[in-house]
Symmetry: C2
Subunit: 405 residues, 2 copies
């Protein structure tokens, strides 16, 4: 039996024991949101790709406008009008100007744009410029935003819908992304019945299978349901071996009895090597991390659904990130505790909470549940972790809440 590790030690173990898989697929027609980039993406174009005006008005030679004012306008003949999306087929010579819309391409010769508000159209083919323009004023130049070679997205980034837009804009439709991760889910225990059944005495519904499948789907992982296995070690071994064969990662959520946990541990020792047995966190201590002979991770999760949920969020997600080579910052909301929370020195403590927004601040209301059962999950907006070297937090303390949604 290995020692219990602290949460930080577990995260370090995940980094040291597992490497990103090298499986990459090529998206030929654009990546999709949720894809993890397997390469840096650098621009191959200029943005914008031509010098353009940022205002509706007139393209001018700035020196023609120096010293002009409402009282002494610079009167310039309008020699043309720039059309959106067209390269001007004329050029400005000193003492002339051209109408230009926002985003219009700057005609050759011009070096500034004047807002229409600072001009007067005399109706005879000339306009008066009422305010002098500095060179470059109201212009954006080719490549001001992006130049070829600029890295826009780094390897490991999980693409968002706005990223999909940016990639489309830059014509980046052929991309190497991390191949979808396949994760197997097994629930063990004679006492488990399907969620639609009414449990008899000593039976409980299998909550972990549907919950873990939903979480994995949320993480853009291909989840494979290997079903419920009774407490027969040979059967569990067979199922775990099959799942490890077919998947990149296997989650086995154990029953709640000591005997069941031992069985999971023995099976994981048979299939590979147990790296860790127990995390100094509450709830969630009975967690096992193992590795098959060919290096695939296997996780024994607590049977208790709330604990399995928290351990999945806090440790399985980082493991998934590691396997995908993903740089995934967990999104938290900083909130102020509405009441003090006690904790146990020596192990980290997870507390479910609701979030309330009032008076311009966000408050975390801890959920008191003696049972620590499903109501925690049903009523909570998220949860926070009190570090193990802390005996509790006072009312008003700031906590980083990990959101359930």
């Amino acid at each position: 039996m290995l020692n219990v590790l602290t949460p930080d030690q577990v995260l370090r173990l995940i980094e040291s024991a597992f490497q990103p898989r090298q499986n990459v697929i090529l998206r030929e027609h654009g990546a999709v949101a949720g894809d993890v980039l397997a390469e840096d993406v650098a621009a191959s174009e200029y943005v914008p790709d031509f010098d353009r005006s940022t205002v509706d008005g007139y393209a001018v030679l700035s020196k023609d406008t120096f010293g002009c004012s409402d009282a002494i306008p610079a009167i310039l003949p309008v020699i043309g009008a720039v059309q959106m999306g067209e390269t001007p087929d004329f050029k400005l010579s000193p003492g002339t100007c051209a109408a230009i819309p926002t985003g219009g391409a700057l005609p050759e010769g011009a070096d500034a744009a004047v807002m229409v508000e600072y001009t007067e159209d005399y109706g005879d083919g000339t306009v008066g410029i009422l305010k002098s323009a500095a060179p470059g004023q109201n212009l954006i130049f080719r490549g001001d935003d992006v130049k070829p070679g600029d890295v826009l997205f780094s390897k490991g980034r999980t693409l968002t819908p706005s990223d999909i837009g940016a990639l489309a804009a830059l014509g980046k439709t052929k991309l190497s992304v991390v191949a979808p991760l396949k994760v197997g889910v097994i629930s063990t225990g004679d006492e488990l019945v399907a969620p639609e059944e009414v449990p008899g005495p000593g039976q409980v519904r299998d909550v972990n299978t549907p919950m873990l499948l939903a979480l994995l789907k949320d993480w853009n992982v291909e989840a494979v349901d290997f079903g419920r296995v009774p407490d027969v070690e040979a059967e569990l071994l067979k199922r775990v071996s099959e799942a490890a064969e077919r998947c990149d990662l296997v989650l086995i959520s154990g029953g709640s009895s000591v005997g069941q946990k031992d069985a999971v541990c023995r099976v994981l020792e048979t299939v590979g090597e147990v790296l860790m047995h127990g995390i100094a966190i509450k709830p969630g201590k009975p967690t096992i991390l193992a590795r098959t002979k060919d290096g695939k991770p296997l996780v024994g999760l607590p049977g208790h659904p709330a604990a399995a949920y928290y351990i999945a969020r806090l440790f399985v997600r980082p493991l998934v990130d590691r396997l995908r080579g993903e740089n995934h910052p967990e999104r938290t909301v900083t909130a102020l505790l509405t009441e003090s929370v006690n904790a146990n020195h020596g192990r980290a403590q997870i507390t479910a909470c609701k979030l309330e927004q009032r008076d311009g601040a966000v408050f975390a209301v801890p959920i008191r549940s003696k049972s620590g059962l499903i109501t925690q999950l049903a009523r909570a907006d998220g949860f926070f972790v009190i570090p193990r070297d802390c005996e509790g937090l006072p009312q008003g303390a700031a906590v980083d809440v990990i959101l359930n949604h």
Copy 2:
């Protein structure tokens, strides 16, 4: 031409002009994450479903322990051991006790549990209780967490993975959820080419189609791509009519020229009724909201990708929520501005930003982009809105950042 509306007026118009659809589907084998509940979900069981111990130790009659201490233990014969998941087949009579694990069912007769740490096993079938227990101590009673009839989730809730767990635990596998919303996406403009093409002079890549499809998928909406339509009003009319026929909502992102926008507006007037033309927000002003003769919403989005993205997040998502009867709070992160941001009095201003966490606080770094083009989307973690009655925000001001991911 209707007046330009403020952002708040647009949100109120969405509420008043459209009603939740009544299309409901029954999930026979459990809802899935992202489903929107079409009914309140009340518990039909007690949680926990029996009185149980919250500690490992001994079930006792509290009065047998009154007054005991380390020096004067109450010595009780152990008449049985409660097994996990089993109803005890014995009952405690005064002067006896029984071993009980955490979560074990309380035997009849017992009214408290004593932690094993406060007992001494004499090895002769008796234990010494070293600390008195109050009635109810270390117990949780049937229904303490949830009683039949308690509403766990309200109609309109978007289910999360943890909700899926809670529903499974309560056996709530048959649920009415809102039927998937079908949203059509059309891009208009002669200048549009596919993202994989290299735009010629005056051409631009169609960014909005892939971006909007990705956003809609992220919202758990069934998105239908109706492709790119050239600037021919009859063709646009045909395509919009077809999309409105097949979908619950149609998004038409317009070209950037005035002529194109007018064409979209005329088409929407033909298909139904234009409710609003222009939002006092920058970017995003050229937005149109219309309604078909049978009450379906049609939205004309700006052609500019960043503007289309923001308008989709700020207004199309609330419209989708309205149609689904969904109670969807937009998740924001409160952050402190690292520099002052100017705004234009009279219209709300959207500013993209990066988020940085340091010194225990979250900072929003505004992204300066003269072009307001794709780099905003590529480099930003989110965006914030400066209200229209505000001329700007100073460095250090708190802003609510809407996250891009």
